[in-house]
Structure formats: structure tokens, C-alpha cells
């Protein structure tokens, strides 16, 4: 598939700190790429280098097949960015803010009017058009920040942690909006340190730490890296050791732990494990309170890769 972004050997050194260390990756047309990493891992720095806002020490950055420079206006006209920090004018209303930024891309007044309305619709700010940013709640302000970045219908969009400090409802609203944009044909780079978002949203994930790539691939590929596929938990009292040995003897079982109340079984492969377990418990007439299965999260992956929790 066609590459929208190609980055080769990117190095960015702030005065004393190497924020990006020999980073190379591509973004394919039409995908949502997740850049996942803890605070300070270099997500924003990477985006600012790609946008030609920052000088970098080494590397080649190509967008739409051409080298990106500050005056690559043809490339810039196809890019939209939702910055991590809210970047709007306090003195302009919701409508005016979107109209101003959209106007830097779209000359035709009629088209622009339609685009601005579309953006307002997408982020759900219809009832707030005349509001000044200071009068918006945190979540609504984030939505305005998004609308300002995407109103001109760009082909390539960067979202830098757009859901920070947003309640779950607003967050779902934002994630739905991003999916809509992808469905309409945009290519998206999405940075976050929330695992769940990446799992819901992204086609492919790059896990970043200290400016280098720890791992990359689809979410499924990454979970495979962590060797575990499924966890089944059973709440059961006074389970006999012979049953535990029996479960352990199964080829597909990776590990079994039991603390007198909770039985935790992890499986290497993730098929029918829950059903098999229920059948087994029935056959042996073991009484249990609760049984449930969990898919491993990217957090498990990250833990596996770095030995530390992603969210600090």
C-alpha cells in the first residue's frame, strides 16, 4: 500500500536531551496509526519534526512522496493537526475560530462556510457556535481544538493526545469522530498513552519509549509478542490440588495460580478456553461463584516489553 509518511533515521537532540533517537517508520494511506508511549517518550517531538516546525539533527521526512520543508505549501495544504495544547484564540467565538483556521486553507467563501458547519457537526458543537473558548468546559474546548484542526478536510491528520482530561462520554464522541474521518478517507496518526484508545481505534501501533521504537504492528501482533492470549479467572473456594495439576497438564495452558479463593489460568492460544473450563468444572462437579475471561491488554504488552507500567 502507498506510504503517506516515510521517516528514516530521525534524530532530534534538544540542548542536552536526545528526544528522538534514530526513528524510522511509515504511515500507510487510509490507516490509523497509533503512536503509543509514556510521558516524554517523544510523541509530540516526532510530530513537530514531521510538520517542519522543529529543526532536527538527522533524518529524512517525506510526506506524499515528497520531502517536507517549511515552504512545502502543497503538502501543508493537505495536512491537519490537532495539537496537544489547545490552540485557539480566546477573543474569537467557536464559529470564528474554526472559520479563521479553515480560511488559511480554503479561499472560497461558500465552500468554507459548508466546511465549518461540517466540522461543527462532526464534533458536536452546534449549540455553542457563539461561545467564546473561556466559556466552554474542558471537553468542549478539546472538541473545538479538534474542529480547528480538521475543518479544511485534510487528507492526513495528526491527533496529539486529543482526549487528555476529557470525560468518557466526550472521549467516545471524539473517537467516533476520528473513525468517521478515517471512513471518509483520511490517513490518521494518533498519539496517546491510553491503551484502550489504541485498541479501539488503531489499525497499527508503534510503541515508543525514550525516542525509539520498542515494538510495532497490529494490536494482535503486539499481543502475540507478549506470549499470552487469554486469561480465565475462576472464583472458587478450597479447590483440591489434583484439579490444579489436571488443569496445568493441558498443553495450551501457560500458567496456573491459586490463592485459595481465585484461580487464574493463562492460555497460550485463545480459542474455546472459557467453554472448556466451564465444561471441566461441570464434569468434576466443582461449585464456583464467578468465571470470566480476559483478553490481554496492550498494557500487558508494554509491561512485558519494558517491565514497567505504561501509565505512570
Amino acid at each position: 500500500m502507498e506510504n503517506v509518511i516515510e521517516i528514516k533515521n530521525l534524530v532530534k537532540q534538544y540542548k542536552e536531551l536526545k528526544a528522538i533517537d534514530d526513528l524510522s517508520f511509515e504511515v500507510k494511506k487510509g490507516e490509523i496509526l497509533g503512536l503509543l508511549g509514556p510521558n516524554g517518550s517523544g510523541k509530540s517531538t516526532t510530530i513537530n519534526c514531521i510538520l517542519s516546525l522543529l529543526n532536527y539533527n538527522n533524518g529524512i521526512i517525506k510526506i506524499f512522496g515528497k520531502e517536507m520543508k517549511p515552504d512545502s505549501y502543497d503538502i501543508k495544504s493537505k495536512i491537519g493537526v490537532v495539537f496537544q495544547d489547545v490552540s485557539v484564540f480566546d477573543e474569537l467565538t467557536v464559529y470564528e475560530n474554526i472559520d479563521y483556521f479553515c480560511g488559511l486553507y480554503i479561499k472560497d467563501k461558500e465552500t468554507r462556510k459548508k466546511y465549518v458547519e461540517d466540522a461543527i457537526e462532526l464534533v458536536g458543537l452546534k449549540d455553542f457556535k457563539k461561545f467564546y473558548p473561556k466559556k466552554l468546559s474542558g471537553g468542549l474546548l478539546r472538541r473545538l481544538n479538534i474542529a480547528c484542526g480538521i475543518a479544511h478536510k485534510p487528507e492526513l491528520i495528526f491527533f496529539d493526545e486529543p482526549t487528555v482530561a476529557v470525560d468518557p462520554q466526550s472521549r467516545n464522541n471524539i473517537l467516533d469522530g476520528i473513525k468517521t474521518l478515517r471512513d471518509n478517507g483520511a490517513t490518521i496518526v494518533y498519539t496517546t498513552h491510553y491503551m484502550e484508545e489504541v485498541e479501539i481505534l488503531c489499525d497499527r501501533v508503534i510503541i515508543l519509549d525514550k525516542g525509539t521504537i520498542l515494538a510495532s504492528g497490529t494490536t494482535d501482533e503486539l499481543k502475540e509478542l507478549a506470549r499470552i492470549e487469554e486469561k480465565v479467572t475462576v472464583e472458587v473456594n478450597n479447590l483440591d490440588d489434583k484439579y490444579i495439576e489436571n488443569i496445568k497438564s493441558n498443553n495450551n495452558v501457560d500458567e496456573v495460580t491459586y490463592d485459595g479463593n481465585t484461580l487464574l489460568v493463562t492460555y497460550i492460544e485463545g480459542k474455546n478456553n472459557l467453554v472448556d473450563m466451564i465444561d471441566y468444572l461441570k464434569k468434576e462437579s466443582i461449585k464456583y461463584n464467578k468465571i470470566y475471561s480476559e483478553r490481554p491488554t496492550l498494557n500487558d504488552v508494554f509491561l512485558e516489553l519494558t517491565g514497567k507500567e505504561l501509565r505512570d
Partner: protein, 391 residues
């Protein structure tokens, strides 16, 4: 695109309350305070009290008309006092005139008044006018009543108020240039208002600063967003700067309208040159804003603080809090005020008002332009960067 950005820049500037306070409201408030402080002096001395002398001879003793009118117009307790009159011998009058203690003296020879002065000027004109007026009226009166009751030629029939009114008009008449003003109070007050205009011009720099800042990726978040758009940076900056300049001129126009029509400040008659100086002064203010915006890495508020501080200091040295400051600096460390844009503007107005030639005026205008271009040239190197080491 240029107009789109210009329009929205104007909107953001005019809706920024902090900006509008410092650039629009503050000079007007300060002007009002000046006016209150000086209104006592200004009210009681609409124009200068003129020092004159009258030769104290028998002809004066016998002429009720001159005696009474000058007595009334010299009455210290009267609000309409025009003259400070000394009654002296002719020799003494001559001496006073030589020493510049009086603007002129009058001597009656029979019924005919003779007015003597060495220089010409408003005060002399007023003096002469009053004498002629008395002569005419008393002649008319005496012709009418001579036959009947000569002793009843009452000086009351000569309306001093009317004479005063006419003299007042004369003083305000455009053809008379107030070049030889001796009254320090007037001096004082005008310098205050000149520095006020200078302050407004330079405060306008905050508008320029904010307008530029909005476009810089390393200064504001909006600047990042603008910088990633497919807009030419130079075009954006010029369009924003123009918005800053227009906002500045609007503020300045308001200040002029307010001081001229409400506070009744008289800036003289050279309207074209006054506007030119204000526009050049504003441009210099703008250049200071551009320099602070592009060269100082700090928050908007800190940058405004820097501009306000520099402007205040400049205006103080140029005589805003007391004209003696300007004189002291001009005399002892002239270099400071030569480099002080607030003083260049103040001095430009001052020279326009008090000097016949325009040399000093144009020197100040040129200094302001040079000052502005140097600042803009320095800023240019920072402004033309498009990528930053750190944002």
C-alpha cells in the same frame, strides 16, 4: 487570504480587553487627570495677563474713560483681568519696556492715545486694540453728548465686557501665532499632552506585539497552528502588522478627538504635520512591539509589561511627570533623550508649536524612522526563521 487574516487580526485585537485598556483607555484617563490638575490654572488665565504701563500725566487724570476702563481691566479680584498695569512717568515706562518688563505703554497727549512697543506679538496687538477701542467709543460718546452735559460722559457707557470679548477673539484668531509665550503654565501643560500622545503612540506597540506573536510558532499555540498552514509567513506577518497599525491609529484618533473636543487642548494649526508625526510615532511604537514580540521569549503579559515599562520610563524622561525632567535631561545628558522615542515625539510636537522653522520637527521625524527601521531590521532575522530548535 491577506484580508481574511487582517480582518480576524483586527477582531482579536479589538476584543482583547487588556490591550484596549492600555492602548485606548489608559491615555484618555491620564489625559483627563492632567486636565483636572491643570484646570485651575487654565480657567483663571484664559490667556496671559499682559504687563503694560500707562504714563501718569494730567491728560490721563482728566480722562475718565481711559482711567476707568484700564482700572477695570486690571482689577486683580476680577475674573476678567487682562492687564497688569503700572502707572509711571514716561521715562520709567521706557526703561520698563527696554528691560522687557512690559509689552508696551500708552501715553495720552490731549485726547489722543499713543501706544509704544518694540516687538510685535499677540499681547501687543491686544493692548493696541483695547486702546483703539476706548478711543473710538469715547469719541463717539462725547460727540453726541458734548452740547448738553459734558460732565455726564460716563465711562460706564463703555462696555468693558465687550472689549474683553473682542480681545479674546483676537487672541484665538488663527492669524496670530502664539510664538512668544511667557507663561510657564501653558508650556507645562502642553508638554504633558505631547508626552501623552507619545505614550499612546508607543503603547500601540503592544498591539503590534500581540499581532505578531499570534503568528509565531515558538511563541504561541495559535502560532503553531498558523505556521503549519500553507500561508506565506511574510504575507501573514505584514497583514497582522497592518491590523496592529490600524488599531493603533484608531486609538490615537480617539485620543485626539477626546483631548481636542472634550479637554479643549490646542495642538496648534499644523494639522497635516501633527498627523504625520503621530503616524510616524505610532510606526516607531509598532516597531518596538515587533522587536519585543520576536526577540523576547516570554509570556504575552511579560512582553506587555516590558513595553509598558519602557514607554513609561521614556515618557517620564521626556517630561510627562514634570517638564523640568525634560529640561534636566536635555541639558545634562542629551544623548538619553536623543535616543528616547518618547522624547522624539514630544520634541517634534513641541518644535512644531514653538518654532517658526521645521528643521527640528523633521529631525525628530527622521530620528523616529531610523529608530523604527533599526528595530525592524534586527527583528527581521528572527522573524524569517520558519523552523525552531525548540518550541
Amino acid at each position: 487570504m491577506f484580508i481574511h487574516n487582517f480582518k480576524y487580526s483586527l477582531k482579536t485585537l479589538f476584543r482583547n480587553k487588556m490591550l484596549i485598556f492600555w492602548t485606548f483607555a489608559f491615555p484618555i484617563i491620564l489625559g483627563t487627570l492632567f486636565n483636572l490638575a491643570f484646570s485651575n490654572i487654565a480657567d483663571t488665565e484664559k490667556f496671559d495677563i499682559i504687563d503694560i504701563a500707562i504714563v501718569n500725566n494730567d491728560d490721563l487724570e482728566n480722562n475718565e474713560a481711559y482711567k476707568t476702563v484700564f482700572k477695570q481691566l486690571s482689577d486683580e479680584s476680577s475674573e476678567d483681568r487682562m492687564f497688569n498695569t503700572k502707572y509711571v512717568s514716561e521715562d520709567e515706562a521706557k526703561k520698563l519696556l527696554e528691560n522687557d518688563d512690559i509689552v508696551g505703554y500708552m501715553k495720552l497727549e490731549g485726547e489722543t492715545p499713543k501706544v509704544t512697543f518694540v516687538k510685535s506679538g499677540t499681547n501687543q496687538t491686544i493692548f493696541k486694540y483695547v486702546v483703539e477701542e476706548i478711543a473710538q467709543r469715547s469719541n463717539m460718546l462725547s460727540n453726541i453728548v458734548e452740547h448738553e452735559m459734558k460732565e455726564s460722559v460716563m465711562p460706564e457707557n463703555i462696555n468693558t465686557e465687550e472689549i474683553l470679548h473682542k480681545a479674546n477673539e483676537l487672541a484665538q484668531n488663527n492669524e496670530i501665532k502664539l510664538k512668544n509665550i511667557s507663561n510657564k503654565n501653558l508650556d507645562y501643560m502642553m508638554i504633558e499632552f505631547y508626552t501623552l500622545i507619545a505614550m499612546a503612540c508607543l503603547y500601540g506597540g503592544i498591539l503590534g506585539m500581540v499581532a505578531i506573536n499570534q503568528n509565531l510558532a515558538n511563541m504561541t499555540n495559535q502560532g503553531k497552528r498558523i505556521s503549519i498552514s500553507p500561508m506565506n509567513k511574510a504575507k501573514l506577518l505584514i497583514s497582522s502588522l497592518l491590523a496592529g497599525y490600524v488599531a493603533q491609529l484608531v486609538g490615537l484618533a480617539l485620543l485626539f478627538v477626546y483631548t481636542v473636543f472634550v479637554l479643549k487642548v490646542d495642538y496648534g494649526n499644523n494639522v497635516g504635520l501633527i498627523i504625520l508625526l503621530s503616524m510616524v510615532g505610532s510606526f516607531t511604537g509598532l516597531s518596538m512591539g515587533v522587536a519585543v514580540a520576536s526577540l523576547v521569549k516570554a509570556s504575552d503579559n511579560a512582553k506587555s509589561g516590558i513595553l509598558i515599562g519602557i514607554t513609561m520610563l521614556g515618557c517620564f524622561l521626556a517630561g510627562m511627570m514634570g517638564v523640568s525632567m525634560k529640561y534636566v535631561i536635555d541639558k545634562n545628558v542629551p544623548i538619553i533623550n536623543k535616543l528616547n522615542p518618547a522624547n522624539m515625539i514630544t520634541d517634534g510636537f513641541y518644535s512644531l508649536y514653538y518654532y517658526d522653522t521645521l528643521d527640528r520637527y523633521y529631525f525628530n521625524v527622521a530620528s523616529l524612522l531610523i529608530f523604527a527601521f533599526i528595530l525592524i531590521a534586527i527583528s527581521f532575522f528572527s522573524l524569517r526563521r520558519q523552523k525552531y530548535d525548540s518550541i
